[in-house]
């Protein structure tokens, strides 16, 4: 009896110690994440801050890039502030290979700067940083969607880091954590409203829906190449046009569509049972090449971005997956594939 009671007590102690350990571990992890986003200017909601911190935490785990965000008001010379901040991080930098990024937003001066560490200068040159700031991030900032703008730019950062890892020996290089002033500063355009993108040449004015899905897709790529973000292009379905009116369509997003799909190998279109829907998909191995959905209206194939928005999600490494909970009329196109628990496609075993 006594023996059993002491055994119970021991079990209780062990359970309490385990819980305390878990609590401490969680607190340490949460505190570490909290450093990733410091929003002294109050430009983001707590939920957005957490979302950003979580995403940047993945960036550290997947690519060993310590990406931090700081906002403030009247930080003085933003370039000097960023470089000095980097010096402060020298002791606490979490990247093993000295890979650091620091995004500083000064709400009062309406400036944004992305500071790049020595280790990443070759991967993210100043021109690329200026490009993602001016052609992506600040389009969201203009609509007061600061967290979305940062996340949208992070997607481009990840894509570039992946390409660098594939193309060069970038993975093996180890640097000290510090910055020599690399990066770019630009006007943050906070709260300036939606800024229309000026299309190149005559844009996608001739981007009409076509008799085949391939032609419609080619016309869409041509419009994106011309940076025509017009939501009323004739090749969209009516629902898509409605949806795009509220979207932030940035030049970088349009460039990225063209660049990303340039390396994809499309399969022949798969038509639905009634001949009203079609899907152009790519081999499973081309994980970043998400399928395209089309709806036939008045004899011409229109791009259905609305359903794509519902059904297709992108993982941390820009690999696409299907949202199994989403209801859409395009499931027929994936009959010969199976999907894992997360929705990533796999070839069905015979």
């Amino acid at each position: 009896m006594r023996r059993s009671s002491s055994s119970n007590r021991l079990t209780l102690w062990l359970a309490a110690a385990l819980l305390a350990g878990l609590a401490i571990g969680f607190a340490v992890h949460a505190a570490g994440r909290a450093d990733l986003v410091v929003d002294d200017a109050g430009l983001m909601s707590p939920v957005e801050r957490d979302r950003l911190a979580e995403y940047h935490d993945y960036l550290l785990k997947d690519h060993d890039i310590d990406y931090r965000v700081e906002t403030g008001r009247d930080l003085g010379d933003i370039n000097t502030f960023a470089v000095r901040r980097f010096e402060d991080f020298a002791e606490t930098g979490r990247s093993e290979r000295g890979r650091g990024l620091l995004l500083v937003v000064d709400a009062k001066q309406n400036l944004v700067r992305l500071e790049v560490s020595y280790a990443l200068e070759g991967v993210f040159p100043d021109a690329f940083v200026a490009y993602i700031e001016q052609r992506q991030m600040t389009y969201f900032f203009g609509r007061d969607r600061v967290a979305d703008g940062i996340l949208a730019a992070t997607e481009l950062i990840i894509t570039r880091a992946q390409r660098a890892a594939e193309a060069t020996g970038f993975e093996g290089e180890v640097w000290t954590f510090g910055s020599g002033g690399a990066g770019a500063t630009t006007s943050a355009r906070l709260g300036t409203g939606a800024e229309p993108v000026e299309p190149r040449n005559d844009g996608g004015n001739h981007a009409a829906a076509s008799p085949t899905p391939q032609e419609t897709l080619a016309a869409y790529f041509a419009a994106m190449g011309a940076r025509d973000g017009d939501p009323d292009l004739a090749l969209y379905t009516p629902a898509t046009r409605e949806m795009l009116r509220d979207w932030v369509m940035t030049p970088a997003q349009m460039d990225n569509v063209v660049r990303s799909y340039g390396a994809c190998h499309a399969e022949a279109p798969r038509l639905g049972p009634q001949g009203r829907h079609a899907v152009i998909r790519y081999p499973i191995a081309e994980r970043a090449c998400a399928p395209w959905f089309f709806e036939k209206i008045d004899g011409a194939w229109h791009l259905d971005l609305t359903m794509m928005q519902k059904a297709i999600r992108f993982g941390r490494s820009n690999a696409w997956r299907l949202d199994s909970a989403a209801r859409h009329p395009y499931a027929f196109a994936f009959d010969d594939w199976s999907f894992d628990a997360h929705g990533f496609p796999q070839r069905r075993r015979p």
Binding site: P125, D126, A127, A130, Y131, Q134, G181, G183, A184, E198
Partner: protein, 311 residues
């Protein structure tokens, strides 16, 4: 494929955007900031030259001390240890010799070691100054290599614009005249900066007047570039082009790197100069002929700088 700086200079000379003299100046500024072979190693090697005689002297003293110690205690005969046993309250002959030699050794060696330590500390700080300067120089070179691209891009666009859009001859002439003035100022500043940087590192960073002259030349380059960017502001199509965005980002990034390198150079100079003025480093600095380094700053910054450099 993007044109090289040399190709751009040749094209601008051919098109009459710049004169032959200006082209020669631009060519001279490309890849020219490194001193001629051999000179570059001067300041770094000098630290070792100081160190060499003192190291040899230390070595000689140590050898002499060890030799004396072995003479005092060495003998060919087998030692009769009973004679070396000390009587109560007495000291053995060998012990006294050794103690005296050790005392001499300590008196000579300890100050020498201290001197070596102080000297090395100062050499390390001087090295940091030269390293910081090398970083600043490499950023100047980076900027020098971008200047032909900037002048070429803006001038080609403006020429095209003025030929196709500007109906009024005077207005067209005024734009091109402004461009020529800015290019001239930019190239002149770049030429002077390149000439100064061709001198050895020590000649530049140990001379207040030379560094001030370099600052003025670099400021002129900066003004010329800002002027060209200001001209581009009037042409939204040029400003909005990806090619111009890329060039502007490269140039602004280089400017920022120069500022950061300048800041770090001045920090290193402040640290070095402050150490040189403190006891006992000032004695070592005087004996080792260490030179005070100049700050790389504007005259206004120099006027507002605090007099004392002690940390």
């Amino acid at each position: 494929m993007e044109a090289s700086a040399e190709e751009r200079i040749a094209r601008m000379e051919r098109d009459g955007t710049i004169t032959s003299g200006q082209a020669a100046m631009l060519r001279a500024s490309l890849g020219s900031t490194s001193a001629p072979d051999g000179e570059d190693a001067g300041p770094r090697a000098r630290g070792h030259r100081h160190w060499l005689p003192w190291s040899l002297l230390t070595l000689v003293v140590l050898v002499v001390v060890v030799a004396l110690a072995s003479l005092g205690s060495g003998t060919d005969a087998v030692q009769d240890v009973t004679q070396t046993l000390n009587q109560p309250g007495g000291h053995g002959e060998m012990n006294r010799t050794l103690s005296a030699l050790l005392a001499v050794a300590l008196l000579l060696v300890v100050p020498l070691l201290l001197w070596v330590w102080l000297h090395n500390g100062l050499v390390a700080k001087e090295e940091r100054v030269f390293e910081a300067w090398a970083q600043t120089e490499s950023n100047f070179q980076r900027r020098a290599d971008l200047i032909p691209a900037l002048v070429d891009t803006v001038s080609r666009y403006l020429k095209h614009e003025s030929e196709t859009l500007t109906a009024v001859t005077e207005a067209r002439a005024a734009v091109l005249e402004k461009l020529a003035g800015l290019s001239e100022s930019l190239i002149r500043g770049q030429k002077e900066a390149a000439e100064i940087l061709r001198q050895g590192d020590a000649d530049v960073i140990e001379d207040e007047a030379t560094l001030a002259r370099l600052y003025r030349a670099q400021a002129e380059v900066g003004r010329g570039m800002n002027g060209l960017f200001a001209v581009a502001e009037d042409y939204p199509e040029l400003r909005a082009s990806d090619q111009f965005l890329e060039l502007q980002a490269q140039i602004e990034g280089t400017e920022n790197r120069i500022n950061v390198a300048r800041m770090r150079f001045n920090d290193a100079v402040r640290d070095y100069n402050a150490t040189m003025r403190q006891l006992p480093w000032n004695l070592v600095a005087a004996l080792g002929s260490f030179q005070r380094k100049a700050y790389f700053r504007s005259e206004e910054e120099a006027r507002n700088a605090p007099e004392l450099e002690f940390k």
